[in-house]
Symmetry: C2
């Protein structure tokens, strides 16, 4: 072990982030230390600030620094009448980057997965049922996985025939995850959404 316990612990924690392993975490920490003033100190301060500021939106489940989040508290976002249901906050952010427009979101916090023991009560489905009546269209933007599509069917059944439920257009690759798509494909898939 090199660098002392404080540095070693920082490396071990960084290595738990997606996309980083032990080796890249070590490189990242050495890079930080070399750029202590320009990078390590600002990063430390930014992380402290983010820890203090981060909130989960009580309405939609988005991650922001206020609750309700900036999307839920923006009245223009309600005018389209469109509510997009996503599995995860990363999908919400991906749709925002793709220019989804003046829409609102609902973050399920996962998908139904009997194998993993994840049932309806583990997802934000009751709050979706409560919100759905305020919107003229519910866009299901689940990942194109078996569990994602199972979840979409469950929601369609639960919301009943009174709701206009659509899904993203084909274009999302089978087995693919929204967050990895290029923004053009994702934007097109949203525009060409079809009624279920």
């Amino acid at each position: 072990m090199s660098g002392g316990p404080e540095i070693e612990q920082l490396i071990q924690l960084l290595a738990r982030l997606p996309g980083l392993g032990p080796r890249s975490a070590r490189r990242a920490v050495l890079h930080m230390i070399k750029k202590k003033e320009q990078l390590m100190l600002p990063l430390s301060a930014a992380l402290d600030r983010a820890v203090a500021a981060v909130r989960t939106c009580e309405i939609c489940g988005n991650v922001d620094t206020a609750s309700p989040c900036s999307i839920c508290s923006d009245p223009r976002r309600g005018e389209s009448g469109i509510l997009i249901v996503v599995e995860d906050v990363s999908d919400l952010w991906a749709l925002e980057r793709a220019g989804a427009g003046q829409v609102r979101y609902h973050v399920l916090g996962g998908v139904l997965s009997p194998l993993d023991g994840i049932g309806p009560d583990d997802l934000n489905l009751d709050s979706l049922a409560r919100r759905a009546g305020d919107y003229s269209e519910i866009v299901l933007a689940m990942n194109a996985t078996v569990d994602g599509q199972t979840t979409a069917h469950y929601i369609t059944d639960r919301l009943g025939p009174g709701a206009k439920v659509t899904r993203l257009a084909h274009g999302v690759p089978i087995g693919g995850e929204l967050d990895y798509l290029d923004e053009g494909t994702l934007s097109q898939a949203l525009r060409a959404r079809t009624q279920i």
Copy 2:
């Protein structure tokens, strides 16, 4: 932009670490936020502690939480009489992981590079010349790059014929960087070092 300014700033700073880009930094931050108690808070605390603790060793240039570093202040490390000269702290750590043994190090802080305007005065060469007399063997463990080998020649000339100067054995791939080598190759290259 999603997530508020504090989160956005954290993403931008993380994206400046080697191995992370804007997309992976965003995923890393969302992962952190989801695991706020288990990961984000400990990481924030670990980074604060590392910032406060980190020191550059006044003798060898290693990064540690004390100066002189744990290697320079360990008397057993001096008994072999071997001083290994490396470009960078990451190379020192790589050699330690490879089990270099009871040796000491000298971190140059780079290599001579006329194209980049890096000359002898920009590296820790004067302090190397002062330390060299205390060691029976100076192992030059530069990267197998043109600049690395130029630097090795410069050091050999500067230390003069009185010093026993060796280099790592061939086995380091041409153009390769020490920090990316597997530990077995690196360990073997060190054992089979040859006199220059």
